[in-house]
């Protein structure tokens, strides 16, 4: 089915070139990888299958049919606590914007996947370690509310170090805020899918990441509530290597599937195909978005 008129191109954003070198060394197997080949392989090591962390816009490009309409990018962080540690919080944000070419730790918008219109959120570890502050909470909530209005399925890729300390309790409260939005969205019968990528921990793992209908874990991702070091301190022994990996979680029954990044798009399309009644989506496809960003 053709992409509806409102799915306008938003892919002209600057994609970061963090490291200009042509070659990248795999941190797992030490293979030297040609950057372009790596990009063509969805940032998965051609030799050992190691999944490199991925930029939000690269991820989006990997998923969508053609167009992506970003919403919520007008929502940007403040400094409610007047936070200073080694540097003031606004300076840290500025540095992160510079480094990541992102306005915050999540990108949200609409797109089609194999013709299925979806609301899509992608977190990025490059921005403040993917921590959830007010803006992440607000953008996720906004995305779910807009998806609910259109009765679209919603897919969120998580990557997060937890709640953002620099916004204190306002950050923690985003767990409550996003949860309420998820609950309202799902209660209306809409499909919610989360894809947990490396790493998904803390407040995000204890809120929307595990509140979805289908929880997909990206292969080899590290996923858990408490940090590894905290647990090691608690139990006073080293944890096994596979602890908190996607594969470990599958065995422990926490996630529906573990999927190699190169199969994630196809998997999502199949899940949409199973769970979404196309008849229900028909009006959504025709809907004109009224959100400010489109």
């Amino acid at each position: 089915m053709p992409a509806p008129e409102w799915l306008r191109i938003r892919r002209d954003k600057d994609v970061p070139a963090e490291d200009a070198s042509l070659w990248v060394k795999c941190p797992k197997c030490s293979e030297m990888l040609y950057r372009k080949d790596l990009g063509d392989n969805a940032y998965v090591c051609m030799r050992c299958g190691h999944h490199f962390r991925m930029h939000a816009y690269d991820r989006i490009n990997l998923l969508v049919d053609s167009d992506f309409v970003e919403i919520g990018d007008h929502i940007t962080p403040g400094d409610p606590l007047g936070w200073v540690d080694r540097r003031p919080y606004p300076q840290k944000l500025e540095a992160d914007r510079e480094k990541s070419k992102l306005s915050e730790a999540i990108v949200t918008g609409f797109a089609t996947l194999e013709g299925f219109p979806v609301a899509l959120g992608v977190m990025d570890f490059n921005f403040r370690g993917g921590t959830m502050g007010t803006v992440v909470g607000e953008r996720v909530t906004n995305l779910l509310e807009e998806a609910l209005r259109r009765r679209l399925p919603c897919i969120i890729f998580t990557a997060s170090g937890g709640a953002r300390m620099e916004e204190g309790m306002l950050a923690l409260m985003q767990m409550a805020k996003t949860t309420q939005a998820v609950e309202r969205f799902m209660s209306d019968g809409n499909l919610f899918v989360t894809v947990l990528t490396d790493p998904t921990t803390g407040g995000v793992s204890a809120s929307f990441a595990f509140e979805s209908d289908i929880v997909i874990a990206e292969a080899r991702a590290s996923i858990g509530f408490a940090g590894r070091r905290v647990i090691e301190q608690t139990i006073r022994q080293k944890l096994p290597d596979n602890f908190q990996t996607a594969e470990f979680l599958l065995e422990k029954g926490h996630v529906d599937m573990v999927v190699d990044r190169r199969q994630i798009r196809d998997t999502l399309v199949r899940v949409l195909d199973y769970a979404v009644d196309r008849k229900r989506l028909a009006p959504a496809l025709k809907a004109v978005p009224e959100f400010a960003g489109a």
């Binding site: 409610p80 950050a171 767990m175 805020k177 990441a209 509530f225």
Partner: protein, 321 residues
């Protein structure tokens, strides 16, 4: 070392001296002078606490615990277990009567002594504790009983086996359930509100906080360790984290503060517990007339607003407070 306990020690010599004098001659000028001196000292020491001092107040070994609040209820019948795996003593729940009203109570249980603390895992709740809480929230909603929670935990249990049993999912499930329930929810932060582990039973229509309780996204020690690699800088972290009741009321996170006597709630524990229960009662009285839909909409909007962000499209700052 608890800085409040240390400070109390320096007072206690003076206090016992007064006590001794009073026995001999209650009305003497010396006694009166000393009494007013102690009063002054107490005000100086405890009148205007720093965030770090409040952290210590919240962790004071004599501070009223959930068990004291449960004991002060008109009636309490504990309901155990998640029906699947284990009964977690770190989170206790059951039917209760509060000022004559039927409610379901959930409470995080720090222990009064080492034995109790070992039994209760120092009030750090495991997944099965949160799953019991979820079950009881659903029971409350089913029978239209308000939910009353008492929050007092340094955080969710960070152990190996809690991770193996999906601690994140367990907390998330509590949050979803609190978002869903069609009955009033009133949460009281009575001591330490440690991060997601506290919020799991803290998402509420009305959040009450004891004046010297703290509620934080991370422990001051943990925060200091992350920021400066030095847990000893916790007092500084406590300052930055804005974890006091007054701060949180300013952010719209806390709806009501219950004042403590000078020197902390434990100086008149029984009365403070009653004051807190009165506050819960008052909140329930206001919430009870609301229809389920109105209640849930208000709850949604309460959290919907929280945060502080810029809206570049609207070129105005949006803030929840």
């Amino acid at each position: 070392m608890n800085v409040i306990v240390e400070r109390e020690k320096s007072l206690s010599a003076l206090e016992s001296r007064i006590e001794a004098l009073r026995e001999r001659d209650a009305g003497s000028d010396e006694v009166k002078q000393l009494e007013s001196k102690v009063e002054q000292l107490r005000r100086d020491m405890f009148g205007n606490l720093t965030p770090w001092e409040r952290v210590n107040m919240a962790r004071h070994p004599k501070r009223p615990l959930s068990s004291d609040y449960l004991a002060a209820l008109d009636a309490f019948d504990e309901l155990h277990g998640d029906r699947h795996f284990r009964d977690d003593p770190a989170l206790v729940g059951g039917f209760a009567k509060l000022r004559g009203r039927r409610v379901v109570v959930l409470a995080q249980m720090k222990g009064r002594d080492t034995k109790e603390n070992i039994r209760n895992n120092f009030g750090m709740v495991s997944p099965e504790g949160y799953r019991k809480a979820k079950r009881l929230m659903e029971l409350a909603s089913r029978f239209r009983l308000p939910i009353v929670t008492f929050v007092d935990t340094s955080g969710a249990d960070p152990g190996l086996s809690s991770e193996e049993r999906a601690q994140g999912e367990a907390i998330a499930a509590c949050l979803v359930t609190l978002a869903k329930v069609e009955v009033p929810v009133v949460a009281s932060i009575i001591g330490e509100g440690g991060s997601g582990g506290a919020l799991a039973i803290g998402l509420a229509d009305h959040v009450i906080m004891a004046e010297n309780a703290v509620y934080s996204v991370a422990s001051p020690e943990g925060c200091a360790a992350i920021l400066w690699g030095d847990a000893a800088r916790a007092p500084e972290a406590a300052e930055r984290l804005k974890l006091t009741a007054a701060d949180l009321e300013g952010f719209g996170i806390v709806d009501e503060i219950v004042a403590e006597p000078i020197g902390g709630a434990h100086r008149d524990g029984a009365r403070f517990v009653e004051k807190m229960l009165d506050a819960v009662d008052g909140a329930l009285r206001l919430l009870e007339p609301l229809a389920p839909d109105a209640l849930r909409e208000a709850r949604y909007q309460k959290y919907r607003r929280i945060g502080a962000w810029h809206d570049d499209a609207a070129t105005r700052a949006v803030s929840g407070a």
